[in-house]
Symmetry: C2
Subunit: 390 residues, 2 copies
């Protein structure tokens, strides 16, 4: 099943301003784009931690229109409202303050501003995006990598659909990453965010392409950083080193560095998207639940070498004669890690029973293209994996 | 001597087109910038390997002006000639085809086009660069990372000066990296290029900042890739996997990924620049000669931990109780590696005697700011290091 590295285009053009108080650069960054801003955010956390007031102080003289209340799984209804605000107010630039949800929502708003029909079309087909408003982000959660990439995931709760879309045109122009913004995160968000980062790595790392050494070594480095620093951040929420490395891991994990040249279909993300679409659970939690079960399910003679390498390079397991032994230990370590950082590791614990496994599996295979994944999966395979998660 | 990670801005915006035949995208890439092109290249190798003809075929309809004969250590005289051609012909965009020398020369031409005085000013002070022509590159050597960064090094043989300059404005807009272009490289260029890549990593990796885990793990991955694939490329010049990983290593080693947050003065580069400025030797060869001697010279109680970590993480040396033991082995391994890939490892072999050590050391300390390096060096220190290289 070995394949050679494919051709690729790497173009991660976001200007990343990283470190304490980098928000002070906001006026200079925003100056490039005009004076009417749509400020997009989620719940009230940015009011509690002072970012909201800081933005208003720094952007004195700008015309700021607000869209607040973006949901953890951002909904197309909120996107529509944002597009309406942009069109009504002739917005020049979008400033998204929050985590991946707020950023993803803002991306589709940015594209929707130049689209005449329902923005849900752009979620279903990213190639319909032909122009977008410039987007600047201030990140408050280390997880999705949305701050430096072309991806956005939007939910439609009426139809139980949650899809990812992508366009180079919605890559943020600039992102401000201040690790101190992570100090006050609830523990579960630190943990779930880390699981999301790790899943982005896993999806690309376990693939048929075997000669992308640099991509794979970057992947291993990011995974080790996640494992090391998530535990520290949970014990010492204000540990700057831990927060800084997790925050940078978020951006590095899904900006093309680890996946370039390795373009197979992802697996755990499409499966998790169905869990969230039907049950609105936290994305990173869903991923953590599915990941080790998926790994165990696809472990076979073809894949064992890669799982053993993963165990050796990431978990420092000694390479043994029996590769399956190493591979199993690596997968067990992965599962134990997610437990240790406090993620509920069964579907039951997040309120999901076996009543919809069939429909979720069917949709994951159909929309996720799981037939083209690292290990090709049928609907029955996905049902089996989900049963292992119950 | 431990320091915390500094704030940084990461903005590596070059569009990287990587893989076989990516040159076919050239017209689409060039379309963004107007129809009058300055084509910059070095010796005749691009005529032998067919790239020259391919460029003319692909850019039918463009107005192409040529600047050829860029030297391995590109000279300010050539930059001046390029600026003259740009101004005379109202050039819209520069297309640089070659290695770091051609690219660096093109960067200063691009900036010189908008500068009223002698472009040597821009080499002495990058902050004088306020505007630059767009630059597209086709890379034919894996070494300097110039294809994805803001740096350029230019020599002035009349004054025996060789200085680096930098400006965000001269970062290439797009770079085409086809690993098959490396198939026909002379062995010494493969080796010297690899030494250059590794030195870029070393300069940032050995520093006072200890908490930039992700930057450091990327560094270790790139070093391991260099060590693994340089040897393969020398044995099998047409091994695509080896060439692809070396080529990508070149870009990743000096685009900000490994040095962000770690902004101390470099050491081996300023020392080597004096060697090249006085003796016009190959940059990568000079670096390989200086590097292990520098490492040994600065090994002490403060630095031993980092050299031992380097030995363990890069050379897979077992971590022993005596850290100096591991550190010495790691440095020996580094020197042996450079020998093994065929680099002459003494100054004598490249025609340098002890007659100018003093003046070179003095200039390296003065212009390189070696007082602010990882380990602060005086002129006497540099003389001692150079004596160890004789």
């Amino acid at each position: 099943m070995k394949k050679n590295m494919e051709n690729y285009v790497f173009h991660a053009y976001t200007k990343m301003l990283f470190g304490k108080n980098q928000i002070d650069q906001l006026p200079e960054v925003m100056n490039d784009y005009g004076k009417t801003v749509l400020l997009v955010y989620g719940g009230g956390s940015i009011k509690k931690n002072g970012i909201y007031d800081k933005v208003y102080t720094l952007l004195k003289g700008w015309n700021i229109i607000e869209l607040s209340g973006v949901e953890p799984n951002p909904r197309i209804t909120t996107v529509r409202e944002g597009v309406r605000l942009c069109k009504e107010n002739n917005v020049d630039v979008i400033l998204a303050v929050g985590g991946g949800s707020t950023l993803d929502c803002s991306k589709v708003i940015a594209a929707g501003h130049y689209y005449d029909n329902d923005p849900w079309d752009l979620v279903l087909d990213g190639s319909l995006i032909t122009k977008a408003l410039p987007l600047v982000t201030i990140l408050t959660l280390a997880a999705t990598g949305s701050e430096m990439n072309k991806n956005a995931v939007i939910s439609n709760l009426e139809t139980n659909e949650k899809f990812g879309t992508a366009s180079k045109l919605v890559i943020p122009q600039a992102s401000i990453l201040d690790p101190t913004y992570l100090f006050t995160l609830p523990a579960i968000q630190t943990a779930a965010g880390t699981a999301d980062i790790m899943s982005h790595i896993f999806e690309a790392y376990f693939g048929k392409v075997k000669d992308a050494y640099i991509q794979d070594s970057f992947s291993e480095g990011i995974l080790k950083a996640c494992i090391k620093y998530c535990k520290i951040a949970l014990k010492e929420p204000e540990n700057y080193e831990a927060r800084a490395n997790l925050m940078w891991a978020s951006s590095m994990a899904l900006n093309g560095l680890t996946g370039s040249g390795k373009s197979h279909a992802w697996t755990c993300h499409p499966i998790e998207h169905e869990l969230s679409a039907f049950y609105d659970i936290t994305h990173g939690v869903g991923l953590a639940i599915v990941t080790p079960r998926w790994m165990r399910y696809i472990l076979n003679d073809d894949t064992v070498e890669q799982f053993a390498t993963y165990g050796h390079n990431v978990w420092d397991l000694p390479m043994e004669e029996d590769k399956f032994e190493v591979a199993h230990k690596a997968i067990d370590k992965t599962e134990e890690f997610f437990k240790e950082i406090g993620i509920p590791m069964t579907l039951k614990e997040v309120g999901i029973d076996d009543s919809k496994l069939d429909i979720m599996a069917e949709k994951a295979v159909r929309f996720g293209g799981l037939g083209d994944a690292f290990v090709s999966l049928t609907k029955e395979d996905v049902v089996n994996i989900l049963k292992d998660c119950l």
